[in-house]
Amino acid sequence: MLKYIVRRLLILPAVLFVVTLVLFVLFLQVPAEQRVRVYLPSVRPRMTPEETERLIQATIERYGLDRPLWVQYREWVTNLVKGDWGYSPSWREPVLEGLLRRVPATLELTMFALVPALLLAVGLGRIAARRRGAVPDHMVRSAAFLGWAFPPFILALVLINVAYARTGWFPPGRMSIWASPIVNGDGFQAFTGLLTVDALLNGQPRIFWDALRHLVLPATCLALAEWALLTRVMRASLLDVQGHEYITTARAKGLSEVQVVNRHAMRNALLPLISTAGVTPPLLITGVAVVEVVFNFNGVGRWAVDGFLSTEIPVTVGFALASCVVTVLSSLLADLLYAVVDPRVRLY
């Protein structure tokens, strides 16, 4: 087990090295004089030319921009590790700070999409596999097929029309206008940054319902593809497991059907679900960005796209880097979880 974990952990720096190298090589495509501008910290208004010149020189010095490429790469990575991810002029804050400030909102959205998607995938995939070829199976399979083929942004168009424009039930954005002064006011303490949780902790049920209302549509759009994929995997793997001999043995022992499925079949059938869920974060992050932009939801994805559109290279690169780190860590987590759940892996 330990050997497996160590070996798996050793891959991590190699992958992160490739990620940073790719970003750095792409970054070198920016002309040198523009690159200095990218590194420049906040330029105060009304600086004299001499001051600007000194600032540029200091920046070149600090990031080693006149040194060999590998030194530049080293300096860049060192700064990243130290937490200096560049400065975003239009938000007037360091990139990392802006990024981290928006993480809770995105995390909340992702949770509200991922948890129901996962539970529904396990439940419905199980039903479909148990009733193979029957009506429930066909219904689940068709829904999963459509869900996989349905682009989230088109679903968003339809949902906005049906559930907002027509009825006003589920508005876009993160909270209503009336809620914003309360949330940003003195009486409201941000414990976690997750608006729904904070609202409950502050004893503000109205804010809670408001936040929930705003989460429904984007979370639905985000969850659909994930649910569809996981449902298909769940169904296929349960069908696969059901054919194994230990299931026959379990039945022969005289266990009830529920026990056979829950104790023996499901435990093994869940394994592929873990590895599949572990590779979906890149898809999920792309989905988050698209959904946040379409629903005007103030999270990391919208921040990154806004930053990109106002040609802020540090924001764009910072988003790419952060999302790569998230992806790498989640696939590591999935692998470790897999090793915990499946003893066979530990033998390697």
């Binding site: 891959i11 190699a14 992958v15 992160l16 090295f17 490739v18 990620v19 190298l21 790719v22 970003l23 792409l26 970054f27 495509q29 920016v30 523009q34 097929f145 459509l146 996989w148 083929a149 349905f150 682009p151 942004f153 088109i154 168009l157 339809v158 906005i160 029309n161 049906v162 907002y164 424009a165 027509r166 298909r232 169904r235 069908l239 696969d240 590779v279 974060p281 890149p282 898809l283 999920l284 992050i285 792309t286 960005a289 698209v290 932009v293 379409v294 994805g301 990154a304 796209v305 990109f308 040609t311 290279i313 764009t316 690169v317 988003f319 790419a320 999302s323 790569c324 992806t327 790498v328």
Partner: protein, 311 residues
Amino acid sequence: MARLITRRGTTRRLFRPSLVAGVLIILGFLATAIAAPVIAPRQVEETGRVSYRAMRARPQPPSREHPLGMLPGEVDVLQGIVWGSRGVFRVGLAVVAGRVLIGLVVGLVAGYAGTIADAILMRITDGFLAFPMIAAAMVMLALIGFGSDPNAGFLYGYLPTREELIVQVALILFGWMAYARLIRANILVEREKEYVLSARASGIGRGRLLFRHLLPNSTQGLLVMMASDMGAVVVTLLAFVFIGLITFSSDKLMQGDWGHMLVAARDWVVGGQPFTYWYTYLPLSLLVVLFAAGWNLIGDGLRDAMDPRLY
């Protein structure tokens, strides 16, 4: 072809409802794309471009001349859909072909060249796998398209703009990994088989062994992946255009481009009474879903034909 699809070549298995439905859907799109000048002829002005009339800033409801109405700027929706179907095939085929090409090379080398090359190539693959497509596209656009005119390198209808080209390259450059892994896994199985040994014993060169013997036998599942990828690539690209990663241009809109049409329709989704302007986005949206579903049906059908055990 048959060898690529099934090992024992039982063509009967290929006639599965989902596969047939998918092929019919995609053939429909293909016929539309090819017959675009017949289905939706349009006036091309002397300059070779269709003019954009910005005077009519509102969408026009369906009428006799314009069966699906018009987008703002008098852009006929039906014409746009028909001509735009060429664009999605072009993009999909180009990107999938690029991905397959890189995937084949990397998979082949990783699977055959030995453990060190394999380990290095697989870590590189892992690194590229970490990038979400949107991050990759934005980084490429921001860093390589830096300071460039978004429409530079533009040739009427056929060549993509610089921005589109960058996004397509990003889709290729950060999308080949699944193919590489597939080919590598297949090669690892195939190279242990006896025909490889006998081929080697007969004294053929390494290149011949790789390309004449190993590669043709290592394409299991390649078509499945390509088919599902076609739909996914197009949908991803449309999503990127929709959220504004590619600069909107009325030129593109006039030529018929699904992404730009969706952008033009975006502001009319929640306008007036709901569904007042349904024709600006609903027919096209349904077609996008149908296009993606068609490719997925083909992918699923092919997989079922090869491996009827599951799914």
